[in-house]
Amino acid sequence: MSLLKALRYFFREAAVNLLRGWKVSLLAVLTIAVSLFIGGAFLLVSDNLESSVERWRGEMRVVIYLKPETPEADLRRLAAEAARAPGVRSVEPVTAAAARKRFQQVFPSLSNLVAGWQEEPLPASLEIGLDPRTAGSAPGREAWLASWRTRPEVSLIDDDREWLGQLATAVAVVRAVGVALVAGLLGAAIFTIASVIRLTAYLHSEEIGIMRLVGATELYIRGPFYVEGLLQGLIGGLMASGALWAGYQLLHARGGGSLFSSVLALDFLGVQQVAFLILLGGAAGLFGAVASLRREAL
């Protein structure tokens, strides 16, 4: 038989078996889908967490608070000076008045409190956006900051990098844990899929024995089962992707501008990742079939 003919035979047989044994197939496919769904959900979450971290990184700032008495002209001059430093992406001078306005916007309930003050309650400041690529560790950055600290106009430097440094460790932890989790979950998914396919193979061990006795070669005996495993895995992967997408849409629809969307549900998985998930299902199904049809296993 030519390879093409053989493949056609495998696929036809596999399809027929899937349909005739639909109860078992459905069970297998659903289990695979559940496993991949969990794995995919983690991929989704950890992806988005990572991109959140990237975004935060991009927004990393150093805020230089000036002494209350600093005139606005000094503020502009200092801003221009800060902007010349290497690794500085943007400098936004915030006058005391602007700071108060912002405070009133952010905490409207407290705005009349602030309004009652005689002098400007908040100091003017320079909000310096750092280049995210070098934000954490540009050489000379510490010395540069220290030189600012000694200036008479500066009262305090609030360095986002300090807590971003902490955040970075937290993020590193989350990422490490996330990678471990996704790996672990996908590993578990593959194991589960292989187990399930193997269990279904036990159901067919008698049939396989008969095929051997009748004179079929191993390739022709196993081909259909391999394809069956592959198809079950692919279908499971498709179902998992569909369910993920539905879940994502649901979250988006319900928690549009809420916590979720801000921290997690930014983007759906990319095409490659969805393809990866589906192919992973297929690969696990195939692997399970291959593992379970080793001669000794039956």
């Binding site: 005739r20 095929m211 051997r212 009748v214």
Partner: protein
């Protein structure tokens, strides 16, 4: 065609199924294999297509040492041997048609030809109308006949039938036996394991008798009523083992209509 040299077989449990069995079946012969329940008939047949391997001794099929065939070549041996298993061994998930045409399909025979072959084989056993049923939907005798059709479809060099008429009524049994003789006439070596002494006596031919794993006798027997297509040239009658002697019985009484 099939030669056994001092073949013994002990199962792991300690059962000795065969004990130093030696015989030689030339190409084109039809041989009956008989013996009490548990005598080792099925074990002997299984070794021919290497479902079992002997504990000691050698088996040559078509000149090849069966035990020495590498695993990957076993299917090619089996394709030349049609087997009717004592327990049928039909694939429950496949239809009768698919069961019968399984080997041709694997061999790449095209569908039209498969259909023709299946129809012919099933008509010979009287089951052409049940092509699309599944084995569990058939009666015991029907399943047995499907197993026979499957064994014959590939025009095998050797036909092995293990108790092929145990679930068939006498008329059908006779039909099936005629079929086997016909196949034999066309050159196929046939080995029939059976308990049916009447058939053996009627048809005659070479009879191997097993007793507790030993080959108790290997003799030619002249049939009392050989079928019309006389496949075996008349040969001198020879000794018959005691096992084959009918129990003392009065002649069958003519029953009034």
């Amino acid at each position: 065609m099939i030669q056994f040299f001092h073949v013994s077989k002990s199962y792991p449990g300690g059962q000795t199924a065969l004990d130093e069995v030696t015989f030689d079946i030339p190409r084109g012969e039809l041989v009956f294999l008989t013996g009490a329940s548990g005598a080792g008939k099925t074990t002997l047949l299984r070794m021919i297509f290497r479902e079992e391997v002997p504990t000691s001794g050698q088996i040559l099929v078509n000149g090849r040492n069966v035990s020495a065939i590498p695993r990957s070549k076993i299917p090619y041996l089996r394709r030349t041997i049609g087997v009717v298993f004592q327990d049928f061994r039909l694939i429950a998930r496949k239809t009768i048609f698919e069961n019968v045409t399984y080997l041709p399909q694997v061999l790449g025979v095209d569908l039209q030809e498969q259909k023709k072959l299946a129809y012919q084989a099933l008509r010979r056993v009287g089951l052409a109308h049940r092509l699309n049923a599944f084995p569990p939907e058939l009666s015991g005798g029907e399943q047995q006949r499907v197993a026979i059709a499957r064994a014959l479809i590939n025009d095998p060099d050797i036909l092995i039938a293990d108790e092929p008429t145990g679930n068939l009524d006498p008329d059908l049994s006779r039909e099936i036996l005629r079929l086997f003789l016909e196949v034999n006439l066309r050159g196929t070596t046939v080995i029939l394991a059976t308990h049916d002494r009447d058939t053996i006596q009627r048809v005659g031919g070479r009879v191997l008798t097993l007793d507790h794993g030993r080959l108790a006798s290997d003799q030619e027997l002249v049939g009392t009523d050989p079928p019309t297509l006389d496949p075996l040239a008349a040969e001198a009658a020879t000794q018959v083992p005691e096992e084959l002697l009918p129990a003392p019985e009065p002649p069958a009484e003519e029953i009034p209509e």
